[in-house]
């Protein structure tokens, strides 16, 4: 607005405008050129500290996210439901893994192998064999009780007498105990049915008062 209404301040005219020299008659030009306000320029307000802090927080978060969901920058880890399941607010059912009870039982059997041996033959006069044993191939509930509460006192397995003590294994969960019983019942020539975790659970629940180990009288 000041361009033609007021005398111009000569200090505000740069060399390029002065060298232009003559100015066309102002009235010849259209008003549209005159009513314009000054060309835009920039103020120098500083950037507030909160904006800087917020930007840095966002950058920190970006670094964390990149690390958390980069899958180690591997070329063969693909984008998909499992790649970021934990980041998803909507993922309801996690993928369930199917477990082979024989394989799992074989692993749990490591607890038993010290006495009954890896081949299930036991040690003569000290630890009874599991291979071909009537008890192992017998009632599931009795077996469940033995692994849950232990066994003590004189017993007879495959015609041989034993008098020792087997500790209880009740600290293992139902699935592990069911798996190990399934394993021993289907190995070394044994061909008995598998044991389900439900059987262990029902024995554990119905005998929850029991503290003592099993004895021969309990087996009969």
């Amino acid at each position: 607005m000041k361009n033609h209404d007021q005398p111009r301040d000569l200090r505000s005219i740069d060399a390029y405008e002065q060298e232009h020299g003559t100015e066309p008659d102002v009235e010849e030009m259209h008003a549209v050129v005159y009513r314009e306000k000054t060309e835009p320029r920039e103020g120098s307000q500083p950037i507030p500290i909160w904006l800087i802090l917020a930007s840095f927080s966002l950058l920190m978060w970006g670094g964390w996210y990149l690390g958390r969901f980069s899958a180690d920058f591997a070329v063969d880890r693909y984008e998909g439901p499992n790649a970021y399941a934990s980041s998803s607010l909507l993922a309801t059912d996690k993928p369930t893994t199917k477990i082979d009870p024989i394989l799992m039982g074989k692993r749990v059997y490591n607890n038993c192998a010290a006495c009954h041996q890896a081949n299930g033959q036991g040690v003569a006069n000290q630890f009874p064999p599991l291979a071909g044993s009537d008890i192992v191939n017998g009632d599931e509930e009795v077996l469940a009780k033995i692994v849950l509460y232990g066994l003590t006192g004189p017993i007879e397995v495959s015609g041989q007498p034993y008098n020792g003590t087997m500790p209880p294994w009740s600290h293992l969960d139902d699935r592990s105990l069911a798996a190990v019983l399934t394993y021993v019942r289907s190995s070394w020539g044994n061909e008995s049915s598998s044991v389900s975790p439900e059987v262990i659970k029902s024995v554990r629940d119905s005998n929850s008062f029991r503290k003592n180990a099993m004895t021969r009288s309990d087996l009969e």
Partner: protein, 500 residues
């Protein structure tokens, strides 16, 4: 840094450019140097806007009334929709953007438009390419690569046109009369550099055997997202940065905000594209990088929003009268909205719902239409009277234009966003049959067609105004055509107070 004659140091120790305004006579010469070139780019843009609107309406109607124009292979949805996208992006948005860009370059460098013959020929050549490309798409020769549907042979000629614009921009920068580069120039020059690079890079990776399969797909979305991010957005922001302070006549809030906003945009936007492929067969980290890039966009967007808002504070009443400001502020606010929305949408948990739904369509239109197109309209309302030397013919037409487009766009966004959220939740539920989900969206698709019609009405009003201006049949008053012109007939405002 050397302190030159055109800068002074404030008490805060900040180097601040001294305001050196050009003489009106000089400004008139600069504007006249742009006249033919910019009007050609603008006029062609409006032609493509009308054609693009028509194609948009046809594809929108087809979604709820599938039998509409279904007898001709040329007018099937699979051809009309990419034709709509290409005419709008390469015809309307790019051409109007280049028009404004050239004018801003001349104005801000305070030099006459460079290489006018080249730019004029380039406009003709560009129109020819867009026409041929659209024809090929309708004929069934689309590449099927989204945002690059023009046949592969069109790539080299289009890239050449961009290089001409780059050279012209470079020439004006080299010949500029002020040392200081106003923030708009940063964005504009950025876009002239980035886009040819993007276009050539994407063409080589997608249209040649240079890459295969998954890499082509990743390149596709890197490119498509950056057409908006590094081509249209910088032009839109440059226009907003120029016209907001220009119309209200006060400096932009802060130079430091401008620079922070520019560099963070330049650094982060480029990474964001792969968020389109969440859940796709890509290595996890490629998508994760895209998500991080998208969320980092909060920094430039917040910065620009504050900068624009603080400039506007105390001047919102100008929105009542000035068409330029009203369109541009609408666009600038939409930029903030669309960017925040985009960042949130890239979060995987949200994307699981919104991906492959109408929500994405609403988001894309909020960006290209509500932000870029509205800013482009506002810029044209400012620039054209200066080129043709007469005023816009009718305030009524501008009103129809503004309310048609603003209401149409709002209706479009609300309807499709809601439809998309519903659709997304329904699609994530395997118990709901797909066809039922499709039929549930039909009412929203109708609302989209109605909204599209409103926008088209606005475009027709605009096209009539532009046509009259090009024929030099505008108003010859000495005051600009404003929304409420009657008020100014009796108010004792001086000419200088009234801004268009």
């Amino acid at each position: 840094m050397n302190e030159t004659a055109s800068t002074k140091t404030t008490e805060l120790g900040v180097v601040e450019p001294e305001v050196v305004d050009v003489l009106p006579s000089e400004r008139w010469l600069i504007d006249q140097s742009c006249r033919q070139v910019v009007l050609l780019w603008y006029g062609s843009a409006v032609f493509w806007l009308l054609l693009g609107s028509l194609l948009a309406l046809v594809s929108s109607i087809k979604l709820h009334t599938p039998g509409f124009l279904a007898d001709s292979a040329w007018l099937t949805f699979g051809r009309v929709r990419p034709a709509h996208l290409s005419t709008m992006i390469y015809g309307w948005a790019s051409m109007s953007g280049i028009g404004t860009m050239l004018w801003l370059f001349a104005r801000l460098c305070k030099t006459q438009l460079a290489w006018r013959e080249g730019l004029y020929l380039m406009a003709l050549y560009w129109n020819f390419l867009v026409a041929l490309g659209t024809f090929e798409i309708l004929r069934g020769n689309s590449t099927g690569v989204e945002w690059m549907e023009f046949p592969a042979w069109a790539a080299a000629p289009i890239a050449m046109a961009f290089l001409v614009i780059f050279v012209a921009a470079w020439k004006m920068l080299a010949a500029r009369k002020t040392k200081h580069l106003y923030i708009s120039l940063w964005y504009l020059f950025g876009s002239t550099m980035w886009f040819p690079f993007l276009y050539l890079g994407a063409t080589i990776l997608i249209q040649t055997p240079a890459s295969t399969g998954i890499a082509k797909m990743a390149t596709n979305w890197w490119f498509a997202h950056n057409v908006l991010g590094l081509w249209l957005t910088p032009i839109g922001l440059a226009s907003a940065y120029y016209f907001i302070p220009k119309v209200i006549g006060r400096p932009i809030h802060s130079y430091h905000f401008s620079i922070l906003g520019f560099w963070t945009l330049a650094i982060f936007y480029n990474w964001a594209g792969t968020h389109h492929l969440i859940g796709g067969p890509l290595p996890v980290w490629v998508v994760t990088v895209g998500v991080v890039g998208s969320l980092m966009m909060f920094i430039p967007v917040t910065t620009v929003a504050i900068n624009h808002h603080m400039t506007m504070v105390g001047n919102f009443h100008v929105l009542k009268s000035s068409p330029t400001l009203r369109f541009i502020v609408f666009g600038a606010m939409s930029y903030t909205a669309v960017s925040f929305q985009g960042s949130l949408q890239s979060i995987r948990a949200i994307n699981e719902v919104t991906h492959f739904t109408h929500y994405t369509i609403a988001h894309a239109h909020l960006g290209v239409y509500s932000f870029f197109t509205m800013v482009s309209f506002g810029s044209m309302y400012y620039v054209m009277p200066r080129l043709v030397e007469c005023e816009w013919p009718s305030a009524k037409l501008i009103k129809v234009h503004f309310w048609g487009t603003a209401m149409g766009m709002t209706m479009y966004w609300v309807g499709l966003t809601w439809a998309g959220i519903e659709q997304g939740f329904a699609m994530n539920n395997p118990d709901i049959p797909f066809l039922e989900i499709v039929s549930r969206t039909i009412p929203y698709l109708w609302s989209r067609s109605v909204a599209g019609t409103l926008m088209t009405v606005g475009h027709i009003a605009f096209a009539i105004s532009v046509w009259k201006m090009l024929r030099h049949r505008g108003a010859s008053a000495s005051v600009p055509t404003l929304f409420n012109t009657t008020r100014f007939r009796w108010l004792p405002f001086s000419r200088a107070e009234v801004q268009s």
